[in-house]
């Protein structure tokens, strides 16, 4: 059985290169109300997510760390996507985003905005954990989990 090559351009779209080269909101947020670390030991990806939440709204969000293009761009785009959003909406987006990357049938019909580029990751199962590391870290920060988020 021969498997056709998944399209690299589906995975590495220009918006991903852009956010990898120039990650947005890449800094430590001080002061911050929420914070968590994420680690993917297999690839060595490490990042920290900082949030300033007030009255149930993500007033500001930032990240720092190092990783592959997919994990860096995902963290950068995540910060853009959730800034100014109510927490309930952020949690729903986390669930929807995860479905988008792993199960096309479960992904809801919604406007993912720039996050839609990560649908291409579905064709590269080994890379799903790269794209979700920032989101799992965000989830841990908001739920007050003490342990570092892991996508291994």
């Amino acid at each position: 059985m021969n498997i056709g090559a998944p399209d690299l351009r589906e995975l590495y779209q220009e918006v991903i290169f852009d956010h990898n080269r120039k990650p947005r909101n890449y800094r430590k947020l001080d002061p911050h109300s929420h914070h968590a670390r994420g680690h993917n030991p297999l690839c060595g990806d490490q990042l920290e997510v900082f949030l300033q939440v007030k009255d149930g709204i993500v007033e500001d969000v930032s990240f720092e760390g190092q990783g592959c293009a997919i994990s860096t761009a995902s963290a950068s785009l995540m910060t853009e996507a959730i800034k100014g959003k109510p927490l309930a909406e952020v949690e729903a987006l986390f669930e929807n985003f995860h479905a988008l990357l792993t199960d096309s049938n479960a992904a809801p019909e919604r406007d993912f905005g720039k996050l839609a580029v990560f649908a291409g990751v579905r064709e590269f199962p080994a890379r799903v954990k790269c794209a979700t590391l920032a989101w799992h870290t965000l989830h841990n920060a908001l739920s007050g989990a003490q342990e570092a988020a892991r996508t291994e």
Partner: protein
């Protein structure tokens, strides 16, 4: 293309790809270029057939049946042990214990020899180059017994700091446990010299040979080690089989570490007695077919000649080092003077994991990550590297395919001007 013709090095004409059925398959519509041999090697048809033939004609349990088939299977299993003995030049077949692989072999030594011989305050000497499988069993033992781990550092080329080795080696050193060849960098350690130094202070020596046995002739008596561990699956044999060489004097005195059938002499509820070595260390029904296939893999390798394999791989490594090292933006990690056929590298602006994905779509299989050697990566200040690890069936064309795929990755990431 980034390869320079002047970088080409004459490579032997050894071409055995057709002996390995999987190497003719395609991946993502491209011919498979398999450069992840440090993780596991592919299997020649001779090995696949040996395992198949055993189940077709010879299968029975060993050491227990009065029937002909059981005796026949036992003879074949024992012959496989003798084949491993000759392969390593051990003094006797009884010095070979079959295990699941290198990891189990090291755990056997830690749990049997280690628990019986080590005390609080004793020191175990390792190196920064070790695979996790030659670190964690000793850490577990140290936690239980109160021993201390000492670690020989490496220089920027990935070679052991021999002055530091001399300083760390002392009368408290009870065990030197060291890799023969670094899986992450390819560094070949001077194991015979290090074992001689360790013996001089009365320390026992263990060599992790997982990355060595397929690439050069190993002679455990010439090395002068007490233990030597290796895995079949990195030697063109199936997964789930490997062996521990243990010098007979030590092995005969070692207590069992796993209990069960086949390792006992008598069993009663007032107490049991143990079978002699090596059966004492092979509780339960072993991987009989695996042992027989391992012997077939050794036959295959010896049929080509390990010296010829080593010469081929050395030439291929020189070609790879020149070709990949000449690519703009590529940095080689691990440049020891004595290296086995492993090329660890980084490409500017492209994370190893991204590189691995892009190479894969070109049919080129490499490893990206920390190579189960996190302390070593930390020492180099890297989260990981890309690693191409070569085997006897690789050719210069495989290296050129790797170079072309790296070029494609650099174009995709826009990190290099296209030629």
């Amino acid at each position: 293309m980034s390869t320079t013709p002047s970088a080409a090095v004459a490579v032997s004409d050894l071409d055995v790809k057709s002996d390995f059925p999987i190497l003719s398959r395609q991946v993502h519509g491209k011919p498979l270029v398999y450069l992840d041999n440090g993780a596991t090697t592919q299997k020649p048809l001779a090995v696949i057939e040996a395992e198949r033939e055993f189940y077709l004609a010879d299968n029975a349990n060993i050491h227990r049946g009065v029937h002909w088939l059981s005796q026949h299977a036992t003879e074949r299993y024992d012959a496989a042990r003798a084949r491993v003995q000759r392969f390593l030049n051990a003094a006797a077949p009884e010095e070979i214990v079959f295990t699941r692989g290198t990891t189990e072999a090291i755990n056997l030594v830690a749990n049997s020899w280690g628990r019986a011989n080590l005390r609080a305050g004793d020191e175990i000497l390792l190196t920064t180059l070790e695979h996790h499988s030659n670190i964690v069993p000793w850490q577990l033992l140290c936690e239980q017994l109160g021993c201390t781990l000492k670690v020989v550092p490496v220089n920027a080329a990935g070679e052991l700091e021999l002055d530091a080795f001399e300083q760390l080696l002392g009368e408290r050193t009870r065990l030197l446990a060291i890799t023969h060849v670094s899986n992450a960098l390819g560094t070949i350690n001077p194991v015979a010299e290090l074992c001689a130094r360790a013996r001089a202070v009365g320390a026992v020596t263990l060599i992790d040979g997982a990355q060595a046995v397929a690439h050069a002739r190993v002679d455990v008596q010439a090395i002068g080690c007490d233990f030597y561990a290796f895995s079949g699956h990195k030697l063109y044999a199936p997964t789930g089989i490997g062996a521990l060489y243990a010098r007979r004097e030590l092995l005969d005195a070692m207590p069992p570490w796993q209990g069960g059938g086949d390792m006992i002499y008598t069993v009663s509820f007032t107490g049991s007695t143990w079978a002699p070595a090596p059966q004492r260390f092979e509780a339960g029904t072993p991987n009989i077919a695996g042992a027989i296939a391992l012997a077939a893999a050794i036959d295959y390798l010896d049929g080509i000649g390990l010296e010829r394999v080593a010469a081929h791989e050395d030439a291929l490594l020189a070609h790879a080092t020149a070709t990949i090292g000449a690519i703009e933006g590529v940095r080689l990690i691990g440049t020891a003077r004595h290296k086995a056929a492993i090329l660890s590298f980084l490409v500017d602006g492209i994370h190893p994991h991204d590189l691995g994905t892009i190479l894969d779509t070109e049919g080129v299989a490499i490893r990206a990550g920390h190579h189960c050697a996190m302390p070593l990566m930390e020492c180099f200040g890297l989260p990981g590297t890309a690693r191409a690890s070569l085997a006897l069936y690789n050719t210069p064309a495989d290296i050129d395919a790797l170079a072309a795929a790296i070029d494609k990755a650099q174009q995709l990431f826009g990190t290099r001007r296209t030629a």
